[in-house]
């Protein structure tokens, strides 16, 4: 089956007509439909199931658009429909189902119509197909389609540990292999043989009667033993799972010891690192003090320039010049013989020069200031370097401290959860379970012997019974019939066992292949096995059964691997339509799943939430998406928006 186009009209939140064209098989075989929760993904998923099989799981009796229903007047009707165009075995089909809503006596009621199915020839001519429902079931039986069209709930069904999961898997295997038919056939033939035996006994001699009674008791005993065996196997498996969980708890306890040691180490490291932070802060405070003049570099440079200018002009140092000028004024004559009498121009000039000279008492201070301003300015580069180094130390120490504190918080949280672990109680439970397992194994061993012995006894008694009845006239035909029925029943039972064995092998190998494609711990997990009584088991590389110790994500993945393995071995060609498969998976698994899913089917339709649709998932799927739609929802109306591909 290849899906081509789905059209909804007035269904749920799709108030008008919405159409979805699916990506065809090929390199880009994936149709991606994404939107927020409540945007209408599940409606599309349900609509697909409804148009094919006529059943609605989530919204029974509520198919029509509610706002249209509210607007309908007394006696009026509104209609809705879902149609699907698809191909199967080279033939094109058009499938449609309708629903009519009416308001009668203030009550809204919906009535669904049957399926209408048409074949479409190359010229586009349609021809009604009678018995459309049956035709669909031939293409993809209802029991099988749940492995092709499924959602998170289906995955969850297989993740619930215990007998319910086993029953689900048993039912699934029976559905795929039509084993129910073989079961019933085998049982029916056995019943026929027993009824004929009774007739023979009624007409037979006392010895025949006695043999039949003994055979009947032996058969009852054999069946009872087989039932006992089934119960013990179930209990043994149950105890094994519980023991696996306790072993896991033990490993946790070992981790607790390691974690406690790590906590102690971390606490020391946090203290050391906190001291580093404090030391770096003190260092920066000191560096800040030393760098007090950094913002003053402008005025210090101005001071330096001013004093430098005065030095260049000879205004500092001043004492020699000062003395020289005073001598000139005292002797009223220069060495060049110029007259310097008071009041003369040269005298006035010298007096002015004397006034400009820095007073003798200040020259040292001025020179000191000049040198110190220069020194302070020179020290600025070193100050800056010291401050930056200290800031970097603080930053680095804070980062280390944050990382250590984060790890310490995690360890504390982990240890907090384990603080109430009662090791003795756990040990007691473990011993008790080991004893239980040992007891079951012993019982099982004993039962196997008894069953074998009962089978041999049944076989022997049957032969004796048939030999004895053969000797009696009028019972030959009946005896032959009983022998044939018994043999045929046994043969069918043997065929059934062989089929189950083969299926388990195929299923195990396919599920292993798929699981390994999904998980990122490929070196850790070795194989998936569908065990006796269809128990789904996962083994690590050391051969340990991982049931009960897997994370929720791994359990989901195992279920998904099983579901997909079922589709692979079911021998039916159909697209995989999956609603919200990635929600509970962690990042690595999500990416692996997104990358691997398109290869597991000829056509893939994925409904994902915006949360699941991370950029990494989108990138992982990018080369495989042939059609993409975004679902928008506003004012109570869902719309399909073409994603642009």
């Amino acid at each position: 089956m290849i899906l081509r186009r789905l059209t909804l009209s007035n269904i749920r939140a799709y108030a008008t007509t919405a159409t979805l064209t699916f990506a065809p098989p090929g390199a880009r075989n994936t149709t991606l439909i994404h939107g927020l929760n409540g945007a209408g993904k599940t409606t599309l998923f349900e609509a697909l199931n409804w148009v094919l099989y006529g059943d609605i799981v989530k919204y029974p009796g509520h198919l029509l658009n509610e706002s249209l229903l509210r607007s309908v007047g007394e006696g009026d009707t509104i209609t809705g429909s879902v149609s699907l165009e698809f191909e199967d075995a080279g033939e094109k089909y058009f499938l449609s189902r309708g629903v009519v809503g009416a308001l009668t006596g203030g009550e809204v009621s919906e009535k669904q119509s049957g399926v209408e199915m048409y074949t479409i020839d190359a010229l586009g001519n349609s021809k009604l197909v009678k018995g459309g429902d049956q035709r669909i079931l031939q293409m993809l039986p209802s029991a099988i389609r749940t492995f092709f069209f499924f959602d998170g709930d289906k995955i969850a069904e297989f993740t619930r540990p215990g007998k319910e999961q086993d029953r689900q898997i048993t039912r699934a295997v029976n559905d795929v292999l039509h084993l129910e038919l073989l079961n019933r056939a085998s049982q029916h033939l056995g019943d026929i043989a027993r009824q004929i035996n009774k007739k023979i006994a009624e007409r037979g001699t006392a010895e025949v009667k006695d043999l039949q009674a003994r055979l009947e008791r032996q058969l009852a005993l054999r069946d009872q033993l087989a039932e006992n065996r089934r119960l013990i196997v179930a209990e043994l498996e149950d105890a094994t799972v519980r023991k696996g969980q306790i072993d896991h708890r033990y490993r946790d306890i070992e981790n607790v010891a390691k974690q406690a040691a790590r906590r102690s180490q971390l606490e020391t490291e946090v203290r050391v690192c906190a001291s580093r932070v404090e030391a770096a802060k003190v260092g920066l405070m000191q560096a800040n003090l030393a760098a007090f003049s950094l913002p003053m570099s402008g005025v210090l440079a101005e001071a330096e320039d001013l004093l430098e200018e005065k030095r260049k002009k000879g205004e500092i140092p001043s004492d020699y010049k000062d003395q020289f000028l005073l001598d000139l004024l005292e002797h009223h004559r220069c060495i060049c013989d110029r007259d310097l009498r008071p009041g003369s121009d040269p005298y006035i000039r010298v007096e002015q020069l004397l006034q400009q000279v820095v007073p003798n008492g200040l020259q040292e201070k001025a020179l000191l200031l000049h040198g110190e301003a220069k020194r302070l300015l020179k020290s600025h580069d070193a100050c800056k370097a010291a401050m930056l180094r200290c800031m970097s130390d603080i930053d680095s120490a804070h980062k280390d401290l944050d990382a250590l504190q984060h790890e310490l918080d995690e360890v504390n949280a982990a240890l907090g959860a384990e603080s109430h672990t009662d090791v003795l109680e756990l040990e007691s439970q473990r011993l008790s379970l080991e004893a239980e397992i040992g007891k079951h194994r012993t019982s099982l061993g004993g039962l196997e012997v008894q069953i074998e012995s009962a089978r041999a006894a049944v076989e022997r008694l049957e032969k004796e019974f048939h030999a004895e009845s053969q000797r009696q006239q009028g019972l030959k035909t009946l005896t032959r019939e009983a022998a044939i029925a018994s043999r045929a029943g046994n043969e069918i039972a043997a065929i059934r066992e062989r089929l189950i064995g083969e299926l388990r092998t195929d299923l195990s190998s396919e599920a292993t292949r798929i699981f390994k494609a999904f998980t990122w711990k490929t070196d850790f997990f070795e194989r998936v096995e569908v065990g006796e009584d269809y128990l789904l088991q996962l083994f690590d590389v050391n051969g340990r059964d991982m049931r009960g110790v897997m994370s929720m994500g791994e359990t989901q993945l195992l279920s998904l691997a099983f579901i997909l393995a079922m589709t692979a071995i079911s021998d039916h060609q159909a697209p995989l339509v999956i609603d919200t498969p990635l929600a509970r998976l962690d990042r690595n698994v999500r990416l692996n799943l997104a990358a691997a899913l398109p290869d597991l089917t000829s056509q893939l339709v994925l409904f994902v939430t915006d949360t699941e649709m991370t950029p990494e998932v989108r990138s992982s799927l990018a080369d495989r998406v042939g059609a993409e739609y975004r679902l928008s929802f506003s004012d109570g109306i869902s719309q399909i928006v073409d994603g642009g591909l």
Binding site: E278, K281, L284, M285, A287, N288, L289, A291, F292, S293, L294, P295, M296, G298, V299, L300, E302, A303, E304, L306, L307, V358, P359, G361, L362, K365, A366, L368, L369, E372, A373, L376, K384, M387, L388, C390, M391, I394, D395
Partner: protein
């Protein structure tokens, strides 16, 4: 150098106590009020506009300044006033002139320091302010 009382605007006294006080313990970004005053003065000088006091309040004396700090103040004073007379060590009036000059610049800088040195890591904020870095790490 004459021993003089260093004053700040009375309305900033609480801030001085908070930033350098013992109440804040080892988290205080300044060990002494003098250190905060010096930082305020330096930042105020960088901005170049002195702010006169509304109400003076003496908080420590000039002996608290290191030699480098006082020299830097004198250099700033000389650069801005070109008055070398005030450098006379024995001249109390000269010291007073330098001090009142610096006090007004410290008064100008205190607002900037108050605004920028208020995060969880005040020593880093102060370093960035001194370095004139625009962002915090």
């Amino acid at each position: 150098m004459a021993r003089l009382l260093v004053s700040i605007d009375a309305r900033h006294h609480e801030f001085y106590r908070e930033m350098a006080g013992k109440d804040r313990g080892k988290d205080a970004p300044f060990e002494h009020m003098k250190d905060l005053f010096v930082a305020c003065a330096a930042v105020g000088l960088r901005n170049g506009v002195p702010v006169p006091f509304a109400k003076r309040e003496g908080i420590f004396d000039t002996n608290a300044f290191s030699q480098d700090e006082w020299i830097a103040f004198e250099a700033a004073y000389v650069a801005k006033t070109q008055d070398l007379e005030a450098l006379q060590v024995s001249d109390r009036r000269g010291n007073e002139a330098v001090l009142s000059f610096i006090e007004e610049f410290a008064n100008a800088g205190v607002g900037i320091v108050k605004e920028q040195v208020s995060g969880r890591r005040p020593e880093v904020d102060l370093a960035l302010l001194l370095l004139e870095a625009p962002t915090t790490i």
